[in-house]
Symmetry: C2
Subunit: 310 residues, 2 copies
């Protein structure tokens, strides 16, 4: 872990996009790196005003160019489909030697968009695997990244000192850092994040659109399992539209495998093969145990929901 | 709400099966109806011993016949596929006028199995829509049913006074009661509970069985969405095998609709139709809000997981 006085570290950081992720980075820097100066910008004037009121960053500017003018690190926290345009807006205003990074959930497409918009600039994409179902400038909080993984995907030829500085930055916010190839990142996230979101969005849609069962009934009896899906299906629609469009190949591949597996279980139900069902269900239990052992979820039953008195 | 001294109410209750549901009923009765006498039985000797140690019921017996001998209400809390056999075991031992109920997640098949095993006996099936991913005699807790729905599915010709007494019993434990036709129950639960479980079991299986992404990576980055699915995919395998086999028709119908909807979103991703994706994702957000407004889930972001410092 490197403090801000180290040669590779960043004293001035600009955050472009002040929603859940951008706002949380701003608050986390104030908590964990109090001497670092933060500036910020959001394309939405109402979000800029709210960000200033909440103090998400030290100073909110009315243009991306002003916000980044003497920043050593610029972090783009906009939907992945908007990365190219956001980068183009600040292209001429970057300080010499500035590093540009991001927090997008797909990495190959973002690396490409940033490289095109910012020729000659040091680009080191990153993805903190953290979030909640909330979005906007009121959603951020300082501890979002604590004990969560941040995946950095340096392009070929990236400066190792800059990669290390970015890695130190994320570790200072409480994250655990992993370096990975962008293509592999996109495959891993397709299965751990993108496919689960797509499935959740689908089932919530299916349930709200039945003729034999009313939406009121679905909501009323949601504690039987359905409600767990509604949480991630409440995530930001723009962000997720962009994720699916930019990580299309990996998502479609994972979806194909999921569909094959679902078809196999469907067949087991149809022919009454209890043994196959039991074996499958027994196997999936073990995964849950591993996730809890590795500290990536809460082990209180039912997520420790407030109605649980156990 | 009716106290135990009312004509229709139950003073002596036998619980057959002392796992999550049976144990929780026993504990809830002690909390909410302290004058009611409870007895219990579990087919597994180790569970009987543990149930006695935890005091899940007033007295644990070594046979179902002994446990039910003077009970006015017998509640079968065994997997739905075991209901018929469990009922047959106590058929000759029931007190005259005893009501037999259950807590199974599918109701048409259970009603049929109980009617066959217990000719001439008053059978009033019920389903408290409550649970956690844990199972066994250590999993139960007294507040499991508070603010949760309990659906009662009286067969044709059921005695209204007995239905009311059962309804009062569940309300005394903190539940909200709804009376419903068994067939409609099975359709509603297929979408709110059975399909979500099947999908969760599937995706957890898919993710653990990839060649390009290791199981370790899936577990490590599960905070991106996957971990929400692992909770319900850790539910009791025997219980869920039986649910899918006994509510086959409704589950297969819901699965068919889900697959159609998934195929439509898959196509939107493939052809790059961002508008369709956005509209779908925007719609599913509203469902979440309704569930929270109706008190059927926790509104803390990220389920208020312990790492959330917001």
């Amino acid at each position: 872990m490197v403090g801000r006085e180290d040669p590779g570290s960043f004293d001035r950081i600009a955050i472009i996009g002040l929603g859940l992720l951008g706002g949380s980075i701003g608050l986390a820097v104030q908590d964990c790196l109090p001497d670092v100066r933060t500036t910020g910008y959001d394309a939405d004037p109402a979000s800029r005003q709210r960000a200033a009121e909440r103090g998400l960053v030290g100073q909110v500017f009315d243009s991306a160019a002003e916000a980044v003018q003497d920043a050593q690190l610029v972090i783009l926290c906009v939907p992945v489909g908007a990365m190219g345009a956001a980068a183009a807006e600040l292209a001429g205003a970057l300080a010499p030697g500035a590093v540009v990074s991001d927090v997008g959930s797909s990495k190959e497409s973002v690396a490409k968009a940033l490289a095109e918009a910012l020729p000659g600039v040091s680009i080191i994409p990153a993805h903190p695997v953290a979030g909640t179902e909330r979005s906007g400038p009121d959603a951020g909080f300082a501890s979002l990244f604590k004990q969560r993984w941040c995946i950095i995907t340096p392009p070929d030829g990236a400066d190792p000192a800059q990669v290390e500085a970015l890695s130190d930055f994320w570790e200072a916010l409480g994250a655990k850092v992993e370096i990975m190839d962008a293509k592999h990142h996109d495959m891993v996230l397709a299965v751990t994040s993108h496919l689960p979101h797509l499935i959740a969005y689908t089932i919530v849609g299916t349930a709200s659109d039945l003729e034999g069962v009313t939406e009121g009934e679905v909501i009323k009896y949601s504690a039987g399992g359905f409600r767990d899906f509604t949480r991630i299906a409440a995530s930001d629609p723009t962000m997720w539209r962009d994720v699916f469009l930019t990580n299309k190949d990996a998502v479609l591949e994972m979806l194909q495998r999921f569909t094959e597996d679902l078809t196999a279980l469907q067949r087991a139900i149809r022919i009454g093969d209890g043994e196959q069902l039991f074996e499958h269900f027994e196997r999936t239990r073990a995964i849950r145990r591993s996730i809890i052992e590795l500290g990536q979820d809460d082990d209180r039953p039912d997520f420790g929901r407030s109605d649980h008195g156990g």
